[in-house]
């Protein structure tokens, strides 16, 4: 996310279309607004990147808006493998691995359960199915705090509290409403004749699912992967509540690192650690492009 080269106002002059062919104040104004807006969106991240590339001596001597004079990745190395949470000095790599251990199973399980749910809710209507769907959609609107305490009690009585499987299960459960909705809407958009023909041929519930609908689900599965990867990676509250010390995800560890700084604060290391925490969702965003937006839209069309 370094600076993007933005077009200057005058460079639009040779566009085609109904716009004036020469410099116009209106076009200049449009580009001026967009440029200022782009600066607003880029500045905080620029601040972090540039500071993370400085030494502490340079951080003290200059300010955050100055580019680093002699860029060094020293702070990034320290953040990755030496930053401390209290007495633990393993760097954010600990949290990174924990987040990986959480996110990968969460994504896989969400896909399996969500696709199956969507398939049932689109093609196998039976009494009660709609009720399940309604309750599930209600679940999409619940603030986590509403169910957190009972769930903690329930999880401890099941021996799941503070364990990795317990944390994964919680993520899958809270992701279920939106993921189910995504698959349901996707399957509902397919021609019903596909399903009817398979039924006429005598294929059963599971066979139709595995041989016909699973292979057709790639587009929506990509959306779900993006949605759940960024969602689970960026989670803080579930990791904090259900992860315990052992399984703290990267966001929780980052907060602990920054909150437990004593003495002179190592701003360059803190910002490098923050950038490292942001890296996976940023990468997903950059690579996925329009699919990311599609995920927001698919997740947004509730009810």
């Amino acid at each position: 996310m370094s600076e993007q080269v933005l077009p200057l106002a005058a460079s639009t002059a040779h566009h085609d279309g109904p716009r004036p062919a020469t410099f116009s104040w209106e076009r200049a104004g449009i580009y001026a607004f967009l440029l200022v807006a782009a600066l607003f969106f880029l500045l905080p991240i620029y601040t972090m990147v540039s500071t993370s590339l400085k030494t502490m001596a340079e951080v003290r001597a200059t300010n955050v808006l100055m580019p680093p004079l002699a860029p060094t990745i020293e702070a990034w190395g320290a953040a990755w493998s030496q930053a401390c949470t209290g007495l633990d000095c393993g760097g954010v790599q600990v949290g990174f691995l924990n987040s990986l251990k959480i996110v990968v199973p969460v994504v896989v399980l969400s896909i399996l359960v969500g696709a199956l749910n969507g398939y049932v809710l689109s093609f196998w209507r039976f009494r009660g199915a709609n009720l399940v769907f309604t309750v599930l959609m209600f679940g999409a609107f619940i603030p986590l705090q509403m169910v957190l305490y009972p769930l903690v009690r329930l999880w401890s009585s099941l021996g799941l509290y503070g364990s990795l499987p317990g944390l994964i299960a919680v993520h899958v459960i809270f992701g279920l409403p939106v993921v189910t909705l995504m698959y349901r809407n996707f399957y509902a958009g397919l021609p019903i004749e596909i399903f009817k023909a398979a039924r006429v041929d005598g294929a059963g519930f599971w066979r139709i699912f595995w041989s016909i609908f699973v292979p057709m689900s790639a587009p929506i599965t990509i959306v779900v992967v993006i949605w759940q990867t960024t969602g689970a990676w960026n989670d803080y509250i579930l990791g904090l509540t259900f992860g315990g010390r052992e399984n703290a995800p990267m966001t929780v560890q980052l907060n602990n690192i920054i909150a437990s700084q004593t003495g002179e604060r190592q701003f360059n290391v803190e910002m490098a650690a923050t950038m490292l925490t942001a890296m996976v969702p940023l990468l997903v965003y950059m690579v996925s492009g329009r699919w990311f937006v599609r995920g927001i839209t698919a997740g947004a069309v509730k009810g």
Partner: protein, 293 residues
């Protein structure tokens, strides 16, 4: 039994939905009527926790902050997002780069967003120091450490995070508007700004409803951003209800009071969601009947 496999396949989800989304909510509501401290007790105390809740200055500050945050954040995102979408829709160059820049904060966690803004506004580090280094030595920019202003910095950070979402959804809506409408606007000689305000805006109703719905839940759930940016401080100037509930559940060991707070939160959700839901439902039905007729 008919559809047995399908019923078995849906059973785990049905169980989870029942236990977590119905059972746990009922449990929390139930707890709010007990005198539970660190562990659940079954001593019925009526509405005592609610009385205590609304007698607590910290809860009242939290509610006030949620109102400020809600209006500022939702309003700010809608205005900035709509402006960005309009300007991007003027057949500009580098459209996809600009869209990428405006939307990327939405991919970041609130924890990262909070720290980025905290540093950006940090007096020893950020904007203030920059202005002073430029020679403007009197420049003070103490938003984050000013009790009355700190909540607005959280609003600003949240707008930074969420405006791109509105831009993306509204831009999709703008692209779906019929060319003939624009031809008619041109023929009538209506100024562009006027057209965007009184003709196009009402047509984007459904897109905006979706945005408001998504942003409104961000308001009620707002917790991580406050934790990372101010930790609720200075003092309790930036406390929010979601954080109040978390603190009383796990640190201050007052489950009854926290449950009362959580119950108020879900009533807020219902109050926000019901009218929007109803309006959208009504709009869809009207659209469906219009396309039939």
């Amino acid at each position: 039994m008919k559809n047995l496999s399908a019923k078995i396949a849906l059973a785990p989800t049905a169980l989870v939905a029942l236990v977590v989304f119905v059972g746990c909510i009922a449990w929390t509501v139930g707890l709010s009527f007990t005198g539970s401290r660190s562990i659940p007790e079954f001593s019925f105390v009526g509405f005592e926790q609610y009385v205590a809740l609304f007698g607590s200055p910290r809860w009242l500050v939290s509610l006030r902050n949620m109102a400020i945050f809600g209006i500022g954040f939702v309003g700010g995102c809608l205005v900035l997002g709509y402006l960005l979408a309009i300007f991007i829709d003027q057949k500009v160059r580098a459209e996809s780069a600009l869209r990428t820049i405006f939307l990327y904060p939405y991919a970041l966690s609130y924890i990262v967003t909070g720290f980025a803004w905290q540093w950006f506004l940090n007096p020893q580090l950020g904007l203030q120091k920059f202005m002073q280094d430029l020679g403007w030595t009197d420049f003070t920019f103490r938003l984050l450490i000013d009790r009355n202003l700190a909540i607005y910095t959280i609003v600003a950070a949240a707008i930074w995070h969420g405006a791109g979402l509105v831009m993306a959804l509204v831009l999709a809506g703008l692209r779906g508007i019929d060319e003939d409408i624009w031809k008619a606007i041109n023929i009538e000689g209506i100024p562009k700004w006027r057209a965007y305000l009184s003709i196009i805006l009402p047509m984007l109703g459904p897109s905006f409803a979706t945005c408001i719905l998504l942003l409104a839940f961000g308001v009620i759930r707002n917790y991580d951003l406050v934790v990372a940016m101010t930790g609720g401080g200075p003092g309790s100037a930036t406390e929010v209800p979601a954080k109040f509930v978390m603190d009383y559940l796990f640190e201050r060991q007052n489950v009854g009071l926290a449950s009362a707070g959580a119950t108020i939160l879900i009533l807020t959700v219902v109050a926000v969601a019901a009218p929007i839901w109803y309006a959208r439902h009504w709009q869809t039905r009207r659209a469906a009947s219009a396309s039939k007729g």
